[in-house]
Amino acid sequence: MPPSTDRPQAQKVPLRPGDRIFSGASTGAGVLILVVLAGVAAFLIVEAWPSLTAPAEDIPGGKGVAVYVWPLLFGTLISAIFALLIASPLAVAIALFITYYSPRRIAQALGYLIDLLAAVPSIIYGLWGFTVLAPLTVEPANWLSENLGFIPLFAGPPSATGRTMLVAIIVLAVMILPIITAVVREAFRQTPRLHEEASLALGATRWEMIRMAALPFGRSSIVGASMLGLGRALGETMAVAIVLSVSGGVTFNLISSANPSTIAANIALQFPESSGVAVNTLIASGLVLFAITLAVNMAARAVINRRKEFSGAN
């Protein structure tokens, strides 16, 4: 090697074996994850392809892939988004309560309890939704359709079994509550003492302090956590498959017995009895779900990471 190009290299700090092993291992793990992701995507595309090229009559329902997937996509989105609308304010409220209001003992107990919710298998949530929650909602759903029926969500006619979109949404909300609460709580825990004191010294009440210091500081975490929760809700399979009584159709009506299914639940229910192009169609719907959850999760991570700029700055 000519000495002129050699010199800058000679000044480099020599890599220690530990550093080298660690950086090799972490790079390897990162590459492996990418390879797996790419493999999954490739599998989905290859397997979905026949359904995209097949004549529309061959697709279940007989009107092509898009018409088949659309109600499922709609059901997936509506259940996940409404679940999020319930879960994220609740999660923020719980996180605030744990961080700022409750005595330390209760805070810890409540924290554990919420984390425990995450440990319950989703099939259990499904059974609970089916056997306990669904019957419980029948009466309230009747009331809703009678008194608030002018709102499309509660148009009715109310389901007699209670196996409605509403119940699926509530079950999903409970399921995604722990992850959102955990992330948001961690953010509030890190609210700089300096900023809390700045507002308190101005004569802020505790709630005003939360509004001036904690919420602005935690905002991007709240957004990120919600999107993580959304990702979970989009992909949830068993609970929805058990709870929801499906009839297809695109409707905002949450309390009737005519509900769209979700992509994941539909795959779980249909796959055992499908063959040929029907399988390819299911996989095509899976590809759509994969793309959406991947995008949502990546966006969530990006938002959560962005707040690192804040924490170091002050």
Binding site: R104, P192, L194, H195, E197, A198, S199, L200, A201, L202, G203, A204, T205, E208, M212, A213, P216, F217, R219, F310, A313, N314
Partner: protein, 259 residues
């Protein structure tokens, strides 16, 4: 505005730990009172009892009395939130709200105290506070920019502007210059001399020259011994403390013969 503070036999606890014992002093209005003393003797702790920030630490409490003019700050039924609205505080590290603009930082206290202020009125108050803090000329063209984008010294003056925007009776400052360069320090010392025309100022400082330069009265805190609580050794006119203090410990401390 500018009220007198009277402290009577104050003991300050962190849970069961007695941090500061038996402080009695009178803090005169329209003057700067400096508190000096070795690290850990309880200057910050004492300062934070004056605006009832101390009790934010779990299980922290005080024994004794503090009066502001004739109001008993620790009297029954006194809301600490109201005390803090009348007694402003500036911290060691500049702490503007990072997500708020310069304008909103200054207006933050106003919005708490006086929710329905007209925009034009608010503009006036913000400008006046920034002018009083000698910051107006530097930031008037970027009031909408985040406060965290200023230099450390500017941020500290922003915090002073935020504290005085609500026209407190008393202004507490805990080592307000210790994170700043000499020029910013100078700017803030000048500011203190201007502000004392209108406010009662109490400042904690480790910088003896600073205490000598800006204060009218100086109080010397010391530990009673290793593992013992801190105490107020003496408080007197600054010139007297720095020339002929009445206690040996004070003389040792200010002449650097400490310990």
């Amino acid at each position: 505005m500018a009220k007198r503070i009277e402290v009577k036999d104050l003991d300050i606890y962190y849970d069961k730990f007695l941090a500061v014992q038996g402080v009695s002093m009178t803090i005169q209005p329209r003057s700067v009172t400096a508190l000096i003393g070795p690290s850990g003797c309880g200057k910050s702790t004492f300062l934070r009892t004056l605006n009832r920030m101390h009790e934010l630490v779990p299980n922290a409490r005080v024994d004794g009395k503090i009066f502001m003019d004739d109001d008993d700050l620790y009297g029954p039924g006194v809301d600490p939130v109201n005390v803090r609205r009348q007694i402003g505080m500036v911290f060691q590290r500049p702490n503007p709200f990072p997500t708020m603009s310069i304008y909103d930082n200054v207006a933050a206290g106003l919005k708490l105290n006086n929710k329905r202020m007209r925009r034009s009125e608010m503009d006036d108050v913000v400008e006046r506070a920034l002018r009083s803090a000698n910051l107006w000329e530097e930031v008037k063209d970027r009031l909408g920019k985040p406060g965290s984008g200023l230099s450390g010294g500017q941020q500290q003056r922003l915090c002073i502007a935020r504290a005085i925007a609500v026209q407190p009776d008393v202004l507490l400052m805990d080592e307000p210059c210790s994170a700043l360069d000499p020029i910013s320090t100078q700017a803030i010392e000048d500011l203190m001399l201007e502000l004392k025309e209108k406010y009662t100022i109490v400042i904690v400082t480790h910088n003896m020259q600073q205490a000598a330069r800006v204060s009218d009265m100086t109080g010397f805190f010391n530990l009673q011994g290793v593992g013992k609580p801190g105490e107020l050794v003496e408080i007197d006119e600054t010139t007297k403390i720095f020339s002929t203090p009445s206690k040996k410990a004070t003389e040792d401390y200010i002449s650097g013969r400490f310990g």
